[in-house]
């Protein structure tokens, strides 16, 4: 079961990189054609795609931690968090992930990295303050499951690549709408097809990016919940943690639309409705809690 999940996550991550690669090269081609730069566009795009993919794969976790303003903690500063993470890493049979803290009073947590050997768990100071030991263990166990089955690789790639695509298409769009106007008179608008292509691209790219983010199926959260509960053998810990987190009304300042799917509970407050919204990255928390409480393998 877990091996299938790992294989699926690796496959999807690879596919995402290939897709991204193709997208950048296509972008370079369109750009080159539109500006009559010829092959320079493609060559530049290939170089850019290689660099971005490489950097994203190996440093994506650092970027995500940076965006979220997470700082590393050493064992002396917070032995409590460290011990909890190390304990659950032992339970899951993976090397202990690095510990990070986000200075924010809203309770939440996420995991990132490219494999269990290179992974990190970030928790907010609010989580450390508002959870008791059993609840914290529940949260960390959930994140440990994401690490163990390589969910972290795909979700981290999505943050950075989707962000890059959104940025690039936005920038392209602007350069076409404002830049072309001046050239029109000189060249007479010879390649209308290319312009149309670019237009479609600029409109479609962010939508595709959003779909990729949603492809991190909500099923994965249920899975991480249940394998997390299996690690602690105490589903109630995670259930009551989820309850506390979802009832908390403080917003998490450092979270945004690109990173929202990483967190254990959606940090964007307007997405916490009871209904299963089409554009939600997380399943309804009430439902997750209900499923956890229905587990009764430990009595």
């Amino acid at each position: 079961m877990i091996y299938e999940q790992i294989a699926e996550n690796k496959r999807k991550s690879f596919l995402l990189l290939v897709l991204f690669f193709a997208f950048i090269i296509f972008l370079g081609w369109v750009f080159g054609e539109a500006y009559n730069a010829g092959e320079t566009g493609i060559i530049l795009a290939v170089a850019l795609a290689i660099i971005i993919s490489f950097v994203t794969f190996f440093y994506g976790d650092k970027m995500v931690l940076g965006i979220s303003q997470a700082r590393p903690v050493d064992p002396k500063e917070n032995p409590y968090l460290y011990n909890t993470i190390e304990g659950l890493a032992i339970a899951a049979g993976v090397p202990a992930p690095k510990a990070y803290i986000i200075d924010d009073t809203a309770p939440n947590a996420f995991a990132t990295g490219r494999n269990p050997q290179n992974s990190a768990i970030a928790v907010t100071t609010g989580l450390l303050q508002k959870m008791n030991r059993l609840e914290l263990e529940g949260v960390i166990a959930h994140e440990m499951s994401h690490i163990k089955n390589y969910d972290i690789r795909y979700s981290t790639l999505v943050v950075v690549l989707v962000g890059t695509v959104a940025l690039l298409s936005d920038w392209m769009g602007r350069s076409f709408f404002y830049g072309r106007g001046r050239r029109e008179g000189r060249k007479g608008g010879g390649n209308a097809i290319i312009l149309l292509l670019a237009l479609i691209l600029v409109i479609l790219a962010p939508i595709i990016a959003k779909l990729l983010q949603l492809a991190i199926s909500r099923q994965k959260e249920y899975l991480a919940d249940s394998s997390g509960a299996l690690l602690t053998r105490y589903p109630e810990g995670l259930a009551s943690a989820l309850e506390k987190i979802s009832k908390d009304t403080e917003p998490l300042e450092v979270a945004n639309k690109a990173t929202a799917h990483l967190y254990i509970v959606n940090p964007l407050l307007d997405h916490r409705s009871k209904l299963n919204n089409l554009f939600d990255t997380h399943p309804p928390t009430e439902d997750r809690i209900k499923r956890l409480r229905a587990m009764s393998f430990v009595k």
């Binding site: 304990g87 032992i90 339970a91 053998r233």
Partner: protein, 185 residues
Amino acid sequence: MFITLLFILIVIGVPILIIIGIYNRLVVLRNRGDNAWHQIDVQLERRADLVPNLVETVKGYAAHERGVFEAVAKARTQWAQAGTVKEKAEASDMLTSALKTLFAVAENYPELKANQNFLMLQEELAGIESKIAYARQFYNDTILSYNNAQQVFPSSIIANMFNFKPREYFEVEGAGKREVPKVGF
């Protein structure tokens, strides 16, 4: 001619491949068990290393609680002598309950409870205790799949052939009847 040769090859080759596959799986499971055991051992060792430091700290405030210190020392000696999984599990249980008593005694000394060093040791020990529990859980799960693989057909045949032996579980003294620490006044 060619067909016959191919047929013979398949008849001999396929079972051999199956045997190799099962054998390798058993080896992987055995190694996983060793690794899981090592995880417990590391944590137990770390806990035993913390004990002298803890005892010294408590002695500074409650030197006359001899019974407790003796129990801890005895448990630690037994731990040092333990060899097999079963012996280690027993010694570890003894140390766990001796330490519980020690902390229960410490409750009576407000000054000790305010000692920075003591607080640090307490958090450290609580962390190690939970790591031991998780390591034990991981070890027992790993051993379960190893022992299962030796008993189910057809891998049981291979396990017998190559002398794979079932391993002992690391058990705590009946989870329900854990000792209540005795508090000396």
